[in-house]
């Protein structure tokens, strides 16, 4: 299966990646190769195989419900570009 230029542009937009013409062209080739590999995998008979969510044969460990973190706002905000009244400031997201 070949991927289209529009697909690449859409995925790049969703991932907030800015690609130039040359990068888009190179990715078109690379991704098409990857999708061809996926096509080969898809052709395998998986009827008797359970879907795998994780490659490790292990299960999630559960944490006890306890507050173990203390307030480190000052340290975190020391590296933030802009803060005010304890809030992180970001470019306006609503007009």
């Amino acid at each position: 299966m070949a991927i289209s230029r529009e697909d690449i542009e859409k995925v790049a937009y969703l991932a907030r990646l800015q690609l130039d013409e040359a990068q888009t062209g190179a990715l078109e080739k690379d991704l098409t190769n990857i999708l061809n590999l996926v096509d080969q995998l898809q052709a395998a008979d998986t009827d008797a195989v359970q879907p795998m969510a994780h490659p490790l044969d292990a299960v999630q460990r559960l944490r006890a419900d306890a507050v173990t973190e203390s307030d480190q706002r000052a340290a975190f905000q020391a590296v933030a570009p802009a803060t005010e009244n304890g809030l992180y400031l970001v470019p306006r997201v609503i007009e």
Partner: protein, 481 residues
Amino acid sequence: MQWEVVIGLEVHVQLATQSKIFSGASAAFGADPNTQASAIDLAMPGMLPVLNGEAVRMAVCFGLAVNAEIAHRSVFDRKNYFYPDLPKGYQISQMYAPIVGTGLVEIPLENGETKQVRIHHAHLEEDAGKSLHEDFHGMTGIDLNRAGTPLLEIVSDPDMRSAAEAVAYLRKIHSIVTYLGISDGDMSQGSMRCDCNVSVRPVGQTEFGTRAEIKNVNSFRFVEKAINAEVQRQIELIEDGGRVIQETRLYDPDANETRAMRTKEYANDYRYFPDPDLLPVVIDDSYIQRLRDTLPELPDEKRHRFTENYSLSDYDAAVLSQTRALADYFEQVVETSGDAKLSANWVMVELSRLLNQNDTPIERCPIAAESLGQLIQRIRDNTISGKIAKQILEPLWNGEGTPDQIIEKQGLKQVTDSGAIEQIVDEVLANSQEQVDNYRAAPEDRRPKMLGFFVGQVMKASKGKANPAQVNDILKQKLEG
């Protein structure tokens, strides 16, 4: 044309854990901005989530309460989108293998019947932070205290057919989660939020119409109003030759209308995939059985018990079992007073009126259940009449003492001394010679009605304290004899 309304709800319930779903930061409400946002919640590089076992327990308890299948193996996925109050650039959720499968809840209808609403599934996820759009020099302020708070998203099938049914369903979910103690259910603080999927179709048509989703409705009243406004909009649109488009809308309570959110291109392409940072959650039967054994009596069971044990009507039982706090209060009143029917009336009528007037929830009712029970006991043992009891309710509310103290202090004790009542009756009869003559001249069947006049006069003269049954007897004796 006749239209049928089709509604499905997605209810987000904030789980009442101490810490967050994937970090050890406090999940308490109302702290200073960002003082409860840990490195994990801030998505600092290299941080890894560790699942809170309590969130899993709460989700399973909900599933058991709605007779749902519990997934022995559930998986967390990443839901990818960019917004500043979502530091990782994805929300950890469960898309393909949620922890709670299909279930069922029963809702009461206005006509007294009940209806089953199917739960499609319920899944665990993390909440996002909060964006504050007040002006910070043209910037937006971000508070990440809420980021990582555990949510249970409960998704219904499109089974509801009116705004009233949607509200009844939401109340039922609220009732279940608060009975289980897995959420405080406080909608005003965002502990329960609701997205409403609404569509209309001509009556008789089997395919669904195109639906619009009203996001983030945060009160029972707004759910009803928002759905009704949206239904009206869709019907008018279609009848004017237009078409409903699938979109996300917001309800504006001031204008009582829904408005389309500015939809970004591709906004709904979340590219879910399993989160490699989290392993599958595996639950065995013994764990599920252990939790099943801990389930409290749920609203439906309580309602049935109230009708069976206390001989209450379905309606009374439904009202009194709606919240665990109200049900517990009522049962304590019954225990003290010894009369369920009378207790039900007092809690639902007189006490409710006071609670409403003072905008006070039952949890903060200043009249202890035992006090109300004692008051009712005094009606039962003829110390006071029901009418006098109503006068005592307000001093009770204001903390002026126990029912007995107030009765004593205000001299409200019912007069049951027949000599004393006789004296009042004699005075009344002596002052109403004309009415007495009329009564004696009247035919038998008209007399009961005329007796009311004398009862009223005697009660007035005794300041409401004479025992009404005795007054009736003595009056009849004197008038007829």
